[in-house]
Point group: D2
Chain length 339, copies 4
């Protein structure tokens, strides 16, 4: 449908666009328009570049020394791994500190390697050991430091693409936090499922548990493997123990154990996800495209795809950590699974 | 901080970006990065272009014959009036019908002029009279028709910029709905505040009330003006009567009455908004920039601005309809007001 | 099963009882043990006794001049009309005032006759016209007065049998309230279903709407009668417009319109109820026992019964107001309907 | 105020009572009317009577072989330890089974002594070891059996006084359950605070965790003692891990550790409670009355009292299990603490 030139010009001058020219792009049939593509980053390739950033960039200048995974389907300046998920790999060298700040966006850290680092969140000092999940919800002060003898590397996941898109992304710099004496206090207050400090009963607006040690998560997965049927998924969601809800408003975290030789398919769904390999190796098939993953690799799963992950070892379990935007989609009531 | 060329190339080839180069853009201090600018569209300018679209574009080819307001701060193909809000002006001529479809995005219609049109939502046929608000929540089938003698024009507001960005925006075409006999049934079931059909008590996942007639809203505003202090805002939120929550998961609707001569300031806040002038004329000042508005004009209010609206008539009340993304921001816990 | 005398004595001396002797009483099969019996109080009988109390008992000595309906199945000192519901008929003569107090129990008032009375609740002065529902939730200060020329009579319903049983029932006397200027302010703030004052959005712990005028309720019932199928109940629940929940935590209120000649059966359910006849006359059948009701009569419906009400007029609609303990039962998850 | 005899008779014949004669009893000033008195039952006294019931009463005739603690302030046939709490001590001998039934009332079992018993709840077979808490929420099928060599004794707590008072208490007998293979499955699915099976995310109406082993609770208390300030209470609430809410709708469970020599005061509050001594010995002072408690003793704490508990050992911690009706009071919004 060709419009008269003067009409087109009049529309342009008034900052108007004809909907009919774009309606099928905006709301296509069958599948949404997606720029995000399935992708895998190999840790073996990433790591040297991250290590070299440690040589090139002083932490004082960087504020955060991280390499951002930019989905090949998006322009690189977008800094999006998935539609609403930012993924970075961050390095902190011995003796360094990443200064205290806070921002609108919510973040989580999943530790990849290195021991002895700490993240301090709103005055609570949290150890960073490989496999640990640490939350820094939107608006919480946080800083990182590494005082022992080895570099620490972690994966950052943030909802900042969403917050930035909403034109609400801001930050604030703060003074060094003086962490309270109780190192990792939340883990001592919240240990056993179904038990919470009496005085915290009924609090629904707080993030009382900020660190989930991998040692415990792995143990819980192994317990679960004994508690469910042999063909059921061994899949645990990380939740706020005071509410039972996912621990961040927009991003969901979960841990998946694949028994030796196990292959597991997930329904096509409206949410996107990022997988991080904690232990083991195997394959991921995303809408028919295969990726072979090894320890610490990162896989991006777009919206509305079919996903199958498989553990190719016949003797060892594999463990995957997943971040997705399902909580956001549930909160705005667009989350769907397609059988 | 200049990086070695080979390192820059290596990052690019691996789809990586250095965070430190972009961190202040992504999470700036003091104010978020905003592309959306304050803007006003005059109905007196818009209307002729919309009427001409009726001559140029057959409804059968357009699916929806609408002109989209593209914020001057964004590229026009973005179709965003505000960060998460799409605004269109739609025309339906006598004898026309806009066919039945449904989509992931949620929409609302605010009728500007013309009488005798109908929107049918999930089998409920709803009259479209000037000032009426009609909801077509995500996933609900909806079609429009106009059988009487005059064109009908309405404003569409959708959260489609968000849903598209999340790569979850889809649509489906449907057969013509056979509307149930009970014209505008929800308005007869939900009339008085505090009274709901007994059998619907406790339903929290439905949209039971789909049409809010302007006649009633205006009356409720005039009642409220008598019920609040003289210097309090006369401002009503449209809610789901079964839950008390805003009527769409992402978009909030409200109606504001400005008494003769009244000037009202709103706190700087993290949400963006779009104002539609139902009756009257006056001014809007957005972070120091002034806009004079008249009947049916549309004003875009970016995030994090100070807003003052004023009724310049000393004898008549003015009425504004507002759409904002505060419900979305509340659900993901980033909504803030700055005193 | 006979126990040795010494054992019985030992149990008694230790304040112990053998469960096996009482288990079937405590948790019988098929139907619960019920003391509450179906009962009807005729207004024509009640009214003279209430009027006489006005001659016998000065309001200053009575604090509240009310006659309490004591279910014939219970000892009269129990003051229970139904298991958890207290029902009284209260009289206030011209020039009298029932002083300001507040208590743990929640109450509601349904006006039977007389014009010109007021109840003041937490500083809001509410007119009492026949058929109006006025809430005085637990903990709210309230006083009544009648300054015009005729006696006012209303029905009180309270959850005090429950609160007393929980040994938590207390009261406090207060100074005369100085009611704010805005007579019946909540009705001007909450008029149309789906519209609430913007600043009150999201408040979930308040009782924003304290008076439901009968004029509006009756109109809403008549509207509903047009909006539902001919064989559907015309039954409205009174709710908190900010939450959609029943307006008191323990007691539910609803209004039922019976079209001319209409007979309506309710499922057997775990809740008990009290019916008050606002207009009309008809019959109630409760587990096979019939009661003929006329204007202002009160009928008690025990738990777990089948109830049918019928309007015996072929020309006029009848209107019933119902109070039940379903909200309490829902909150503690024991509410059931049996099909 | 003396009423004329004929008037009194007329009221009686109409099943009416004058409110003014009872108003201060029903809603007293300052403190509620309370029949429940502070009381202690010594296990050393209870146990022999319970053992003797094992000799006197065959389980087949008893259905449940339990002795009920009847508060001395109430008539013994009331079977109330506290206003809304039934407490029994139950005995099951080797080889015995207490048959499958379910009822409206909710129950919990706290194991006192004996090993090898099981409770099967809705097909899940749960071990009963000393100190374990086992839930049998209202409506869930449950049976008990003891197949190993020693008697098992537990404390039952039910909300049956409330349910009976509401005239909604019923039971149903069922066939023997065939417990699913997975012994104690819920404990393998819910182990670590903050981790829940992915597929159970968002379920809010289930009781997914039915057994809380004492071994874990004790460990969690000892962890908490390290995680809180020295003068803070070491007090854990038992919650539903999918919701963060107390695990039964009416009854709250918690576990308190008293460090050696620790004395702890609780605010006066509207709820009543029952304490069971898991380990240790000490004192309880209730509104000035002292009780010396030892292992397995049971103490009843009325509403609106001041409570202080003290561990009189200078070397060992003491552990108390508490049941209260605070969840009920919170749900109906009457729960209060007085500072």
């Amino acid at each position: 449908m060709t419009l008269p030139t003067d009409y087109v010009a009049a529309l342009a001058s008034q900052h108007l666009a004809p909907l009919w020219a774009s309606i099928r792009t905006l709301i296509p049939y069958d599948l949404p328009a997606r720029s995000t593509v399935p992708a895998l980053w190999r840790y073996v390739d990433l790591r040297p570049l991250l290590v070299r950033s440690g040589e090139l960039v002083p932490i004082e200048l960087a504020e955060r020394r991280a390499l951002v995974l930019c989905n090949p389907g998006h322009p690189r300046e977008n800094l999006r791994a998935a539609p609403a998920i930012f993924i970075g790999l961050q390095l902190l060298l011995p003796g360094e500190a990443a200064t205290n700040h806070r921002h609108t966006a919510s973040a989580l850290r999943f530790i990849v390697e290195g021991s002895g680092g700490h993240t301090t969140v709103d005055g609570e000092k949290l150890p960073m050991e490989p496999g640990d999940l640490i939350l820094t919800p939107g608006g919480c002060w946080h800083e990182h430091d590494q005082q022992s003898g080895e570099p620490v590397i972690w994966m950052d996941a943030l909802d900042v693409p969403l917050i930035y898109y909403l034109e609400a992304s801001m930050s604030e710099a703060g003074e060094l936090q003086h962490a309270a004496a109780g190192l990792d206090a939340s883990a001592t207050r919240f240990r056993r499922a179904g038990l919470v400090p009496y005085r915290e009963l009924g609090s629904r607006d707080r993030y009382p548990l900020l660190r989930f040690p991998w040692r415990d998560t792995k143990q819980a997965l192994q317990d679960l493997a004994r508690g469910v049927a042999h063909d059921s998924a061994v899949h645990l969601a990380y939740v706020n123990p005071l509410t039972g809800e996912e621990c961040l408003p927009t991003l969901g975290c979960s841990a998946l154990m694949l028994r030796p030789g196990e292959e597991r398919s997930f329904p096509r769904r409206s949410a996107s996800a990022v997988l991080h390999v904690v232990e083991g190796s195997g394959d991921a098939e995303i809408d028919g495209v295969s990726f072979a993953w090894a320890e610490h690799d990162i896989v991006v799963v777009p919206t509305h795809v079919e996903l199958t992950v498989a553990n190719r070892s016949s003797t060892s379990a594999a463990f995957l950590f997943m971040v997705d935007d399902a909580p956001l989609q549930r909160r705005i009531r667009i989350y769907r699974e397609f059988s």
